[in-house]
């Protein structure tokens, strides 16, 4: 592979959504042994729902994040090649970038690494700044069928991140960064940026990023968290599985283009769109697929995607089971009874500013209104109850009333008159607050860097900082 003639660059990606589960060491070490030119991974996702962005937390334990950063940093410094991480800590908020930067410092200190230049950037968008743009007449345009952002919806938002294109990465590389920790970014740009900067065509550079961002999800058989290597030339992209049991096949690589996207042909980033309609895939060797024909279509005006999360309320959860077939057949009446008891106390959800949700496992909890078999419940049901309200006290009472009153539901001919449901617990449990995605929008910018705050620093192996790092 590395003996390939001609000017190529090779990119090692050990993990997609770094931190969500640890990278697999064996295939990573195999990849490192081939001496790649870059080691890179995306660490973020909006798949995890709006709670982590809203509460400014990660879904991953620090140990998993640190494990991967340590493997990558030690390998990158040993080879003397850049290491790039995008969308730090799931959400790419400022606190997550600071946390990763501190982890990099701690790992460097722990291993006594020679000094290196660390670049990082923040992606959070100040609400007041966005408001000023909107008041100034700038439209914040909705994606996926959403309308334009309103000031009211902006007010209901707690935290916003802008999704970076290649621009902050290229700028930090230009400033000499050897390690980059990025705020929220499009997955593909982490890989595309260094390729574009090195003079490779945008068409192939963005495709390289698209195909590598989820690591071994582009290989078969299915196995996550294994390393893959992408190699770019001026004519093509080649992608190779590093795990001895995996192969990048035409089917697996082509199939990856459609993974978690509405459409397999187009990928949108700040600054343009990658058109994969005319992609051509061929099996290059047993574990490598070669791809040509991708096209990048730049836009005149750069529009940056914004993700925002707003708090709905505090949340409690209750649970109940049902076994009596008569009750199961009338479970909506049971739930209706419990809802009415909550309404007697707090009024309707609109009047009382609360939410009460029932998920009936064994009938249609998972699919809800999409469930074709909702009229065929199982012989046993599990009912999860969620109460959401402005205060924890009220949320607890909503959830507790909504759960416990199912016990007292008044069904006309029920034989069991000592309690209508089975409780595994007497209490309800406090869970994460409820948030919702308030922004899935884009905003136009004059300068693609204007929403991002770039920093450069030197990492020297001084005294190790207390484990845990910056908040």
């Amino acid at each position: 592979m590395s003996s390939n003639p001609g000017p190529t660059l090779r990119f090692l990606c050990p993990n997609g959504h770094l931190g969500f589960a640890p990278l697999k060491v064996e295939s990573f070490d195999i990849g490192v042994a081939t001496r790649p030119d870059f080691i890179l991974a995306d660490s973020g996702s909006d798949d995890i729902g709006p709670v982590p962005l809203g509460t400014d937390t990660s879904t991953a334990p620090k140990e998993w994040q640190r494990h991967d950063l340590e493997k990558m940093l030690l390998a990158a410094r040993k080879l003397g090649v850049p290491m790039i991480i995008g969308s730090a800590g799931d959400t790419g908020t400022n606190s997550r970038v600071d946390m990763y930067v501190q982890m990099i410092r701690d790992i460097a200190a722990q291993h006594g690494l020679a000094p290196f230049k660390l670049g990082y950037f923040y992606s959070e968008v100040n609400k007041a700044d966005l408001r000023a743009r909107m008041v100034g007449g700038e439209r914040v345009t909705g994606l996926d069928g959403r309308g334009d952002l309103t000031l009211e919806e902006l007010d209901a938002t707690d935290r916003i991140v802008a999704v970076a294109g290649v621009h902050p990465y290229i700028e930090l590389l230009n400033r000499g960064a050897q390690v980059i920790i990025g705020g929220r970014s499009s997955d593909a740009v982490i890989f595309a940026a260094p390729a574009i900067r090195a003079g490779y065509p945008q068409d192939l550079s963005y495709y390289l990023g698209k195909v590598l961002e989820c690591a071994s999800f582009n290989a078969e058989p299915y196995a996550g968290k294994e390393s893959v290597i992408g190699e770019i030339s001026h004519e093509d992209v080649k992608v190779t599985a590093m795990h001895p049991g995996q192969r990048c096949t035409v089917a697996s690589v082509a199939g990856h283009a459609m993974y978690e996207r509405s459409n397999p042909f187009y990928e949108y980033v700040a600054g343009g769109m990658l058109d994969m309609t005319d992609c051509h895939y061929e099996q290059y060797d047993e574990r490598t697929t070669r791809v040509t024909g991708a096209k990048f279509v730049p836009t005149d005006k750069v529009r940056v995607k914004l993700e925002g999360s707003g708090k709905v309320g505090e949340r409690y959860m209750g649970f109940a089971g049902v076994r009596d077939p008569y009750t199961i057949a009338r479970i909506d009446e049971v739930i209706g009874w419990a809802r009415r008891q909550v309404e007697e106390r707090f009024g309707t959800p609109e009047e009382g500013d609360y939410e009460l949700h029932y998920q009936v496992y064994g009938r249609d909890a998972v699919m809800g209104e999409l469930e074709p078999l909702r009229d065929q419940p199982g012989h046993e049901l599990g009912i999860m109850v969620f109460g959401v309200a402005p205060t924890a006290e009220m949320a607890e009472e909503v959830a507790l009333t909504g759960t416990r009153q199912m016990f007292y539901a008044r069904l006309p001919d029920v034989k069991g008159t000592a309690g209508g449901v089975a409780f595994p617990l007497d209490e309800v449990t406090r869970v994460s607050p409820a948030y919702r995605w308030t922004l899935n929008h884009t905003v136009a910018v004059d300068d693609p860097l204007e929403l991002f705050d770039l920093h450069m620093t030197e990492v020297t192996s001084g005294e190790p900082v207390a484990a845990g790092g910056a908040r």
């Binding site: 798949d47 729902g49 459609m258 042909f265 699919m367 999409l370 074709p372």
Partner: protein, 108 residues
């Protein structure tokens, strides 16, 4: 004599997953061109049929494409509320594909 087989026997992969926070996308992927074209040409998977299967209005299907390089049929639906909102039981949209498994496809 005409017979039929469930999609689960003909497809290599049948899956669902978030496509952003407001949509869920469905992928039906075949191991070979033969089964892919059999299902594609059978007409059992169309905008109309999946809308009926999921009991939703066709306007909620934002994309419906066949994708030759991967031997795949793919469609995407709008969620009624964004992923992870209170009351959403499938934050990743990962378990919405089950009804597709039993779709019967006429063979031979």
């Amino acid at each position: 004599m005409s017979t039929s087989k469930p999609l689960s026997e003909l497809a290599k992969t049948v899956r669902s997953k978030n496509a952003g926070v407001d949509r869920i996308t469905f992928d039906i992927i075949f191991r070979d061109r033969e089964n892919y074209e059999l299902v594609k040409d059978s007409g059992v998977l169309t905008r109309e049929s999946v809308a009926k299967l999921y009991r939703i209005d066709q306007s909620r299907i934002t994309d419906f494409v066949t994708y030759d390089p991967a031997f795949a049929i793919k469609f995407t639906i709008l969620r009624t509320r964004p992923s992870g909102s209170a009351g959403d039981a499938d934050i990743f949209g990962a378990q919405q594909y089950a009804p597709l498994l039993g779709v019967m496809v006429p063979v031979a």
